[in-house]
């Protein structure tokens, strides 16, 4: 009670605000709700925003760990270098290609698989489990497996198949490194799309499908006018989540091709890794990070706006 008695003296502005409508929460109630979240919020801020500010700080400096103590501001020349760096632009194009093609391929394959698994047939449980397994296997183990047991012309399955039908085996990782990488990523992420698509398919209104059937609509028409509109938010969600995952691809590149040949499979993530942890040029690596963040935000904002529509499904239809 003593605290209550003292309080009006120190907080003179309060009476003006005191009249509140019954619907809004009082400050106390609001803090009661927010309070428990505060440690998590502070923790998140420490872990994300401080490194972010530091990255901007570093990006303005000449700072190469190995070449000694000549650390200092260099008037944004890291950014000039980044814009003039052909490998950076090449890796940006690679990033878009990898994320774009693998997302689309994953969704298409995921949708086809989902439609197959949505119908009833004996052994469906086993088929479902097998279909989603690639997504749960460890990426490093998967990549090493693909590298030596699938793509390798001498030891791999692809080489074995093409040899047994009398064709020369393809040097996947030398001749088509980007295609090989996208195949691997699609294999890994299609099950993820499958899970989302399956959820979508299971909520398809059966009455509409039956009505369309009665009206004589064939499989294609039903797909085009009932399934696809219903699945649209699911496809959008899958596209966004896949793109977010695939933009960050790193382990697969490091282990499959080391970014090569001639930076043919280097994406922005891997290039920044090379600048920062192979060349130890933290200044230019930070600048590349900032530039790619700006580019990513520019690309992702429209996608996020699209996604926000998903949560107001009624408004969209």
């Amino acid at each position: 009670m003593s605290a209550v008695a003292e309080a009006p003296l120190s907080r003179t502005e309060a009476p003006g605000r005191a009249p509140r409508s019954a619907r809004t929460l009082s400050r106390r109630e609001r803090w009661q709700r927010r309070g428990p979240l505060l440690p998590a919020l502070v923790f998140t801020l420490i872990l994300t925003q401080i490194p972010f500010v530091l990255t901007i700080w570093y990006s303005l400096q000449r700072w190469n760990l190995l070449s000694g103590g000549r650390k200092g501001f260099n008037r944004g020349s890291n950014f000039v270098d980044a814009f003039n760096d052909p490998i950076f632009w090449r890796s940006a194009v690679n990033t878009v290609l990898i994320a774009g093609v693998a997302s689309v391929a994953s969704i298409v394959i995921g949708l086809l698989l989902a439609m197959a698994l949505n119908s009833t047939f004996p052994g469906r449980g086993i088929a479902r489990t097998l279909a989603i397994t690639p997504f749960f296997a460890m990426p490093v183990a998967v990549t090493l497996f693909w590298r030596s047991a699938m793509f390798d012309p001498t030891f791999g399955l692809f080489g074995f198949i093409s040899r047994s039908v009398g064709l020369p085996s393809v040097a996947w990782l030398s001749d088509y490194p980007l295609v090989a990488l996208i195949i691997l990523l699609t294999w890994r992420f299609a099950p993820f799309a499958l899970l989302i698509m399956l959820a979508g398919l299971q909520s398809v209104p059966q009455d509409q499908v039956e009505a369309a059937e009665v009206d004589g609509a064939g499989v294609l028409l039903r797909f085009r006018y009932i399934l696809l509109p219903h699945l649209r938010p699911f496809i959008e969600l899958a596209a966004l989540l896949l793109a977010m995952n695939l933009i960050q691809t790193f382990g697969e590149i490091a282990l499959l091709t080391a970014g090569g040949p001639a930076y043919g499979t280097t994406n922005i993530t891997y290039y920044i890794y090379l600048r920062a942890f192979s060349a130890f040029d933290f200044g230019s690596a930070s600048a590349l990070g900032v530039v790619s963040l700006v580019l990513t935000i520019a690309l992702v904002l429209p996608a996020l706006r699209l996604l926000s529509g998903i949560f107001q499904a009624e408004g969209r239809r």
Binding site: V4, A14, W31, Q32, A262, S278
Partner: protein, 466 residues
């Protein structure tokens, strides 16, 4: 009573939040400080010292980790905590730690490329004093070229855990079948001709396996030794890049042609790991790589390969220079270590004659750290176990001269690398371009012109060139 209430309790509600923030801050401080004591060890009341050792996750290092109880029983009061990381992760981890004076490690395992650079930065300490006092460690027993690359200005900054050079692995049965003889000191022309004859595409056996994977420590190591022995170099005496000089281009062209015509298929993806697999599974007739892999191949090879695996010196080119490379994994004491004396005791143990004997007896003679000491090659069991390659390893190491690796005078040291901090950056770029040529995406001339332009740019920015 109506309106004071929210404000009054607001004041008291704010407290838990502030307390939470404070608690968090304290918690993170505590985390930092416990981290500190556990990593740098404390010689406090318990009397025990813990030293932290960062190692590469290679088979020889894993053996050392498994035998540590021998060290701890000989040195009561010193506990050793290992951080074992794959080679690619070890470098960034320890570099960050020492460059920022993090104090996480007392002993770090670093390659011979880093030792002089780190010594110059003052990140690792001079071991000369410890070496002089430690008679049992017997410096005279070490291979001189290995000590040279772990020293700067005549002072030793790291103790060699193992040392290696490069030589040629080949299958004597396949050579006999193809009707070729490979001399003990072959030339690259001889090797290329033998590769053409032994190349057996129908049975999936390539003539030779060479590193194609981009990376300054991958394809570029092998290619640089070829450049040296073809009379080329990375730079001239005034740091002008020489990547488009006729001898350098000829060497790279030779390497790329040999690999594309008679090398393993899909070569741009193979580093030493891929070639090790190809050699031990009988999928290649020859392989040019590190001497340390001789034991590994023999350990994992099919019986047919094991019986017929033979070795010769690294092939030479038109300039006739001995071309084997020189590498060593050394143990250095960080400048931030609080227990340098205990750190040296550990290093002395892990690089001693006794340790090599212990590792041989406990873990097998194929998995001892080779190349560092002359006495290793006088151990009867090792001579017996490694008779096909032991002498050749020693000879390859002693013939390599890191101080004079090229025909002309150059301002740098290092056989398969250039001993300057900028080399990693340059090397990664050049190795990517050459991998492009190996995969057929561009010509060698194009790759080398791009490399020359990039290298010139880096050298200008770093102040070597005006």
């Amino acid at each position: 009573m109506h309106f004071p209430d929210p404000r009054g309790s607001n004041g008291s509600r704010r407290l838990p939040a502030a307390a939470a923030v404070a608690a968090l801050a304290v918690a993170s401080l505590v985390a930092c400080s416990t981290d500190d004591t556990s990593t740098s060890g404390s010689g406090g009341a318990g009397g025990g010292i813990t030293i932290n050792v960062a190692l590469a996750a290679n088979p020889q290092m894993k053996t050392a980790e498994s035998l540590i109880s021998d060290f701890e029983s000989k040195n009561p009061g010193i506990k050793v905590k290992f951080t074992t990381l794959p080679e690619n992760d070890l470098r960034p981890t320890v570099t960050k730690d020492v460059a920022t004076n993090g104090g996480q490690f007392d002993v770090v395992m670093i390659g011979s490329y880093e030792v002089p650079i780190w010594a110059e930065r003052g990140w690792i300490i001079d071991q000369t004093g410890y070496v002089a006092e430690d008679a049992a460690w017997d410096k005279a027993d070490l291979n001189q070229p290995i000590i040279d690359i772990l020293s700067k200005d005549g002072k030793q900054y790291a103790a060699p855990f193992y040392g290696s050079s490069s030589f040629l692995f080949y299958r004597s049965d396949l050579a006999k079948k193809a009707g070729v003889t490979i001399s003990q000191t072959p030339t690259w022309d001889e090797v290329a001709a033998a590769a053409a004859k032994m190349d057996d595409k129908a049975n999936g056996v390539s003539g030779i396996c060479l590193r194609g994977l981009p990376g300054w420590g991958q394809n570029l190591a092998a290619i640089t030794t070829v450049i040296n022995t073809f009379g080329g170099s990375w730079f001239d005496g005034n740091w002008n890049p020489q990547l488009t000089s006729p001898a350098t281009v000829q060497a790279v062209q030779f390497y790329v042609d040999l690999l594309r015509q008679h090398g393993q298929p899909d070569a741009a993806k193979d580093g030493w790991e891929g070639c090790l697999q190809a050699m031990s599974q009988g999928k290649t007739a020859m392989w040019y790589d590190d001497t340390v892999f001789a034991g590994s191949v023999l350990g994992s090879a099919t019986p047919e390969v094991k019986q017929n695996l033979a070795f010769t010196m690294a092939p030479t080119g038109p300039a006739g220079l001995a071309s084997g490379w020189l590498w060593s994994w050394g143990l250095g004491i960080t400048a931030s270590s609080k227990h340098p004396d205990a750190a040296w005791k550990f290093i002395s143990w892990a690089t001693s004659k006794d340790y090599i004997k212990l590792a041989g007896a406990e873990a097998g003679w194929d998995s001892i750290p080779p190349g560092s000491r002359k006495s290793t090659y006088e151990i009867p069991e090792y001579q017996e176990s490694a008779k096909s390659y032991a002498d050749l390893t020693l000879e390859s190491i002693s013939k390599a001269n890191p101080k004079q690796t090229t025909v002309g005078p150059v301002p740098y040291q290092g056989v398969q690398y250039v001993q300057i901090p900028e080399f990693v950056d340059i090397g990664d770029y050049v190795s990517q371009q050459i991998a492009g040529a190996i995969s057929g995406g561009m010509t060698v001339q194009e790759a080398m012109e791009k490399s020359q332009a990039y290298t010139t740019d880096v050298m200008k920015k770093a102040g070597y060139l005006k």
